[in-house]
Amino acid sequence: MRYDYAALVQDGRVHGSLYVDPGVFHEEMERIFRRGWVFVGHESELPAPGDWVTRRVGLQPYLLTRDLDGGLHLLANRCAHRGTALCREERGNARHFQCIFHGWTFGLDGTLLGVTYPGGLERSKEALALDRAGQIDTYRGFIFANPAGGAGPLAEHLGPGGRYLIDRMCNLAPSGRIRLGPNWIGQRVDSNWKLWPESDNDGYHLNFLHVSLFRANRESQYNETMLAGETGHSSKAVDHGRGHFELDLKDSYPHELAWCNATPERLPDYRRAMVAAHGEARAHQLLLDGPPHGMIFPNLFLGEINVAMVEPIAPGVCAQYHTAMQLEGAGEAVNRRLLRLSEAAMGPASFLLADDAAAAERQQYGFGASRADLSDGGAAHTWVDLSRGQRREQVAADGVRVSLLSDETTNRGFWRHYRSVMEAGA
């Protein structure tokens, strides 16, 4: 069937079938995860020549590799002979990959290097290289790939909004570079993947879904945001366009380092390193503003001190992997602290995300078997309402939309871009 995305994704509401329909899901894997730019990893995961990690992009298994000249490649983790997965470990270092089935070997750039008994080979080695992402590029250490190629430059995909979100995180490192934490933690959720970009950047639910944490722990970095009423606080929902959006919490922080629930007195070495790198005035501003809380379409969540990626698995199943940002040149004290904060906030047993997962699974349960068929006009109860604050949102000259933290501006930003991508791909 052909999906009418303009009808299914309206300005203040989207149809429930978009979260459950297998046909929609498969079109997303093609149009968003194969033909578009997707976050696939970070340079700090592959520091040395020969380093590799396994990834899934859309439903496809990949190897993200660094070759001996330092170049990055996203290769299908699927032997070009008969499809056998080359690596089942999470990461490693290699000069080449050898398939366990008939022993073909491939280079770090996917070139077919050798086959067992080459005399019988009927095709050229060039034709039997590993499938390779058409485009791969980085921005300040964040690696993005476009499997199909032809998505245009990464800079265009990121736009000023995407770059701003990444800059805001990287600028917190005295060297201007972040590393990812030592490992990812995966959270499986029985919900559609799109509920994560939604929920991770929904400012409306904080005071309700997460009320148990604020009752249990009155000294959190979210105090102003939580305790003030809807209009009494200074955080904002911002849609930068191109599917990138954020909850901008910076004006809610009362002092430097409040975003990691610390004070400058507790982390003097970090502050000193920031002043040495940036000068007093700029260091002060950076330490006050803290990291971003935002999404880069379709799968990268910069969640304050966390870096997370969303992985679709099936229409009703996904995983979100997170790790902590580590600030190069900031010292052990702050980086250890970030690991502990990340454990508290993110993941299946954490104080926050466990509750978001419960909400997402209940949404998925609520969607039931909604079908993407609007011939009956689309029964009222199958729509998801995302209209909150639509009329009070401010649109700037550059198209950036700003509204109250509790307005669904971020969610509408996701869906507006989603609709344009899904329609363009038809």
Binding site: N261, R336, R362
Partner: protein, 183 residues
């Protein structure tokens, strides 16, 4: 939340072989494990918390517990203060990941006493377990959690208390469903 600092009891590999203890002591240690399991199964948070020491460390690593927990990210890595927050959060009645609480039962087996400095303790005890959970608050489906738990127990005021619990899930390398209950 403040950064959790860990005590010196973590990261030590338990001795490989079980040690001999008296039948009375073995029964006492096993009874403690069964009580702890039952209170966790029944989401009796306050009674469960009364079993732990003031320096309790509760650790659910990703992968085997063969490293210093301070150096990596874990599913759970609670010092006593953070564990208290966890219990307070569960006790609010608004911890939606456990409201309503999951019906649960776990089976312990292969119980071994790995360390008993003397009959008075402290002790290291390990057991395999399988936990059956119905995610009643979300999907309504059965979830199965197999693993191994290692407990460090000691006496205070003559009663056994838990100073550390390490839970190594068989599936720990995979993305995990919500585990907001007491594992």
């Amino acid at each position: 939340m403040s950064g959790a600092k860990q005590g010196s009891q973590v990261g030590q590999a338990p001795p490989p072989a079980a040690v001999q203890v008296s039948e009375t002591l073995r029964r006492e240690l096993e009874a403690f494990l069964f009580l702890e399991a039952r209170l966790a199964d029944e989401s009796r948070y306050a009674e469960w918390e009364a079993l732990v020491t003031d320096d309790m460390h509760y650790w659910v690593p990703r992968g085997p517990a063969d490293h210093d927990p301070a150096e990596r990210l874990a599913y759970i890595n609670d010092n006593r203060a953070r564990l208290a927050t966890r219990i307070r959060q569960l006790s609010t009645g608004h911890r939606w990941a456990q409201t309503p609480p999951s019906p649960m039962r776990r089976i312990l087996g292969n119980i071994e006493v790995l360390e008993a400095r003397d009959e008075a303790g402290p002790y290291t005890v390990a057991a395999n377990f399988v936990l059956f959970e119905v995610a009643a608050q979300s999907t309504g489906e059965l979830r199965t959690w197999p693993g191994r738990a290692t407990y460090r127990l000691r006496r205070s005021d003559g009663r056994l208390r838990m100073a550390q619990k390490i839970v190594e899930l068989v599936t720990s390398q995979l993305p995990q469903s919500s585990m907001a209950f007491l594992l």
